[in-house]
């Protein structure tokens, strides 16, 4: 009788701890393919122009905006081509050699993939209901650089029929490293803390694959497009510091004052 009681206690302990294993992280990776179509198309680095539109409710009547362009002054390094042959699958996804995305610059010197954001705006801004997306396709990240708001859901999708692992290396937020062995797999992640300087996300399987992501407390950021242009819309009037960040050329700042309904134009120039 008492032997049974002991057994029962023991089983209960083991079951409890086994159940405890089930809990854990809150990130869920439910594949919700239907939603993807409704989102803005995955902004490839070369076409990204504007930041995702902030929630409409937040737009003030007297909001202005910032448009601008980023140039590279000097000789652009010749982009190395990626050795896709390392993984026969990746190679099969591209008919021509693929260039490294470290520095994407137009022949006339416009610099793409620069993350531009307002550093010092006060107030709280709603978390967008739409998910941000980072897609692993053809063994490259799309987009190469992007911002996401605190608490916003990030969909990490593997569109390739090969293993990718998404290794996020933030300094303020929690690091994670997850494998996605199956094509079409989507993991959903959140970042809880502000981290405005973009951090690296990389794939250890394909060493050349890396991208950058910033976690913003507000929606006032943009990534420069292939022609170096960017737009930060719906910005409440005020005095701000505008920051431009490039993975290779570092950070630049300039003060900026935006009046009511004003369209301000700025320019950044990085030294090559």
């Amino acid at each position: 009788m008492s032997m049974k009681r002991f057994l029962a206690v023991l089983f209960a302990l083991i079951v409890v701890s086994a159940v405890a294993c089930g809990g854990g992280e809150k990130s869920s990776a439910k594949d919700d393919g239907a939603d993807d179509g409704a989102e803005p198309a995955p902004a490839a680095a070369t076409t990204a122009g504007t930041a995702p539109a902030p929630a409409a409710a937040a737009v003030a009547a007297d909001a202005g905006n910032i448009t601008g362009s980023v140039k590279l002054d000097g000789v652009a390094p010749k982009a190395a081509s990626i050795q896709m042959s390392a993984d026969p699958y990746c190679q099969s996804q591209h008919s021509a050699p693929v260039a490294d995305e470290d520095v994407v610059v137009s022949p006339t010197g416009q610099l793409a993939n620069v993350f531009v954001y307002i550093k010092d705006i006060k107030g709280t801004f709603p978390t967008p209901a739409t998910d941000a997306l980072i897609d692993q396709k053809g063994c490259q990240y799309h987009p190469h650089v992007q911002g996401i708001q605190v608490g916003q859901t990030l969909d990490i999708r593997n569109s390739d029929a090969t293993l990718h692992n998404i290794h996020a290396m933030p300094t303020v937020n929690n690091q994670f490293n997850e494998g996605q062995p199956v094509q079409g797999m989507v993991s959903k992640k959140h970042f809880d803390k502000v981290e405005m300087t973009p951090f690296k996300m990389k794939c250890d399987v394909h060493g050349w694959m890396h991208s950058y992501m910033a976690v913003m407390p507000h929606p006032f950021y943009a990534v420069s497009a292939a022609d170096g242009s960017f737009t930060i819309p719906n910005l409440p009037p005020g005095q701000y510091t505008l920051v431009a960040w490039h993975e290779k050329y570092g950070t630049q700042e300039q003060p900026i004052t935006v009046g009511a309904k004003e369209s301000k134009t700025v320019a950044f120039t990085f030294k090559g």
Binding site: M3, K30, N174, E178, V182
Partner: protein, 631 residues
């Protein structure tokens, strides 16, 4: 020469120092008996009897139940792995029990596969087999077989169990750690394990508790076997099982401390920023590890295998002990070559400390050191062959009863044989080059441990169940369990040798599906996985039998197998916390006096009085003290 004064104690003349010792001992024994006397009148409460028990039999049962639960748990981890290996890329709804972080939508992730692998190994070795073989069988049987009232240090014994249970719970809890549990293999090679997620830290804490538990247990066994043998129980009259436990205890005592040290060092590397195992210039995922420098990852491997190779013999020796008991009993004749088996076991124990680096042939060994470890590895195969041969030859001339424990014990012989033989190509460094870290290795050590040791454990459970409960387990269900286990376990492990020859690496998440050289043998994965699940079904009769027989099994007397050793001299289901024997038995002969020519019965228990004079002396001061007191 100084004149020696002697004083008379009882009927004997002793040197004063010996006399004083004997008197002290007599007083201690008297107090002990008074205490026992009191205890009889004031039974311990529920907690002291069934939870925080200091009785070796109850602790043995606690070990046994816990270890069997872990055995099932470790087995179920393997079943999930086999699902993944049989059908990689396929989503299984059962995988969802692992949670969304490990198996989103039932698709097992590679890091989760590594978690399952690491924990399957850890749980099976440290939480299931060793506690079952040593903690459960050793604890329950050793004091009974040597005629002792309990273990030498009952409280230490209790502490050992609770350390083990805490270690086990820490291991289980580690599944809930952020990033999951340990995922660097049961071997936890740094630097991989040092840069792994938090679960590894839990694993290390768990290991430290488990090692502590084993150390406490081993000290206790050694002292018990040396000091508490009853009168007449000379070393050469010990049942072979006790010898096996004795040598095992020395292995645990001497081999575990290096791993405990290594575990602490790795913990420091992870938590305190040291770099015992991290060489200079590590670049992980494109980032330079700044605290790395000056360490050596191979240091861990040496310390780890210095434990883990003797650990193999910790797994196998008690199993051989159980098989020897069951075979002697069911052939109705003495073990053939008992003495050579004992010497072989002791020699095996010594040798097991100098073979560890054969796990590391491919870490860059020169000719001289590899020659040394190859030679010791070949040498250690000889005592194993001697023990196995003796067990085989014990069958000759026997009158073999094929009951369930005997079937499992008999199956152990060829199964362990396969495990041992397949060790040969791995032990020869040149042949090892191709087979190292392939499924051949997995097949090899699983043959040793699964159809080897685990079968012996089953034999032991069926054999001693009547001792513990007073009831026999069902033979019909037992035989069903045996045949299903035997067939399916070979279905699981034999194809591994074929995969190994093909060069398929171990620990692959997709079972080798990526690799061209694995394609010809890939289909065996499905066969192995199906066998594994059938093996689970094969365990159902055992589980039913086990619980059913506790309540409704056939009632038997105290010596249902007509065995000779002292464990069967105690009354059925020895009362808890009241000592084991009403009067400590006096041993008069060797452990396996079956079918003695001229004897009426075909067995003569070790303590039976048959008119012959008892020979030889016991090793026990308590006995002489008691005798003197009586005088």
């Amino acid at each position: 020469m100084a004149e020696k004064r002697q004083v008379r104690v009882g009927r004997e003349w002793l040197a004063p120092r010996d006399a004083e010792k004997a008197l002290r001992e007599a007083i201690r024994v008297q107090k002990e008996q008074e205490r026992h006397h009191q205890l009889e009148h004031h039974p311990l409460g529920f907690w002291r009897t069934y939870v925080f028990s200091t009785d070796h039999k109850w602790i043995g049962l606690q070990y046994g139940f816990t270890a069997l639960c872990f055995l099932l748990f470790g087995f179920s981890l393997m079943l999930l792995m086999r699902l993944q290996l049989g059908w990689p890329g396929h989503a299984f709804s059962i995988m969802k029990v692992l949670g969304e972080t490990r198996a989103p939508g039932g698709n097992l992730l590679p890091e989760a596969y590594n978690q399952l692998g690491a924990m399957h190994g850890t749980i099976m070795v440290f939480l299931a087999i060793v506690p079952l073989a040593v903690g459960a069988f050793g604890n329950y049987l050793v004091p009974l077989q040597i005629g002792a009232p309990d273990m030498a240090f009952p409280k230490l014994n209790m502490a050992s169990y609770w350390c083990y249970l805490s270690g086990g719970l820490v291991m289980l809890a580690s599944f809930a750690a952020p990033g999951g549990t340990a995922q660097s293999g049961w071997t936890s090679y740094p630097p991989l394990s040092v840069i792994a997620s938090q679960g590894q830290t839990w694993w290390l804490f768990g290991m430290i508790l488990l090692i502590t538990s084993s150390l406490l247990g081993s000290v206790n066994f050694i002292v018990t076997i040396i000091q508490l043998r009853t009168k007449g129980m000379t070393f050469m009259r010990l049942p072979f099982f006790v010898w096996a436990q004795f040598v095992t205890s020395f292995l645990l005592l001497l081999a575990f401390p290096p791993l405990e040290a290594a575990g602490v060092l790795q913990l420091m590397d992870r938590l305190a920023g040291t770099s015992f195992f991290l060489p200079s210039g590590l670049v992980v995922s494109g980032t330079r590890l700044m605290n790395a420098g000056g360490g050596n990852p191979l240091l861990w491997q040496h310390l780890f295998w210095f434990l883990a190779h003797p650990e193999v013999y910790v797994l196998i020796l008690p199993a051989m002990g159980i098989v020897a008991e069951v075979i002697a009993n069911n052939t109705r004749k003495p073990l053939w070559g008992y003495k050579s088996m004992v010497f072989a076991t002791v020699f095996l124990g010594f040798m097991s400390f100098v073979v560890w680096a054969h796990h590391m042939f491919l870490t860059g060994m020169g000719t001289a050191i590899s020659a040394f470890f190859q030679t010791t590895t070949m040498i250690i195969s000889i005592p194993s062959v001697i023990i196995l041969s003796s067990l085989f030859l014990s069958l000759w001339g026997g009158s073999i009863r094929f009951n369930t424990p005997m079937l499992f014990a008999l199956a152990f012989l060829p199964m362990f044989g396969i495990g041992g033989l397949t060790g040969l190509p791995l032990g020869l460094a040149a042949a090892d080059i191709h087979l190292h870290d392939t499924y051949y290795v997995i097949g090899h050590f699983h043959y040793v441990v699964a159809p080897g040791t685990i079968f012996a454990m089953f034999a032991g459970i069926y054999y001693w169940f009547p001792k513990i409960t007073g009831r026999k387990m069902s033979e019909r269900l037992g035989k069903l369990h045996f045949w299903m286990s035997l067939i399916f376990i070979n279905g699981v492990f034999f194809p591994m040798f074929i995969q190994g020859l093909a060069g398929v690496s171990r620990r692959l998440y997709d079972g080798g599906a990526q690799y061209a050289h694995a394609q010809p043998v890939l289909k065996t994965n499905v066969f192995m996985s199906v066998s594994a699940w059938l093996l689970l079904i094969g365990q159902v009769p055992f589980i039913i039998n086990f619980f059913k027989s506790i309540k409704w099994g056939e009632l038997v007397d105290s010596n249902p197998w007509q065995a000779t050793t002292l464990d069967w001299a105690a009354t059925t289901s020895p009362p808890l916390a009241h000592g084991n024997f009403e009067h400590l038995p006096v041993v008069r002969r060797g452990p396996y006096e079956y079918s003695v020519p001229g004897s009426e019965t075909d067995f003569i228990p070790q303590h039976a009085v048959t008119g012959e004079e008892p020979q030889g002396g016991g090793g026990m001061l308590v006995q002489s003290a008691v005798a003197q007191k009586e005088a």
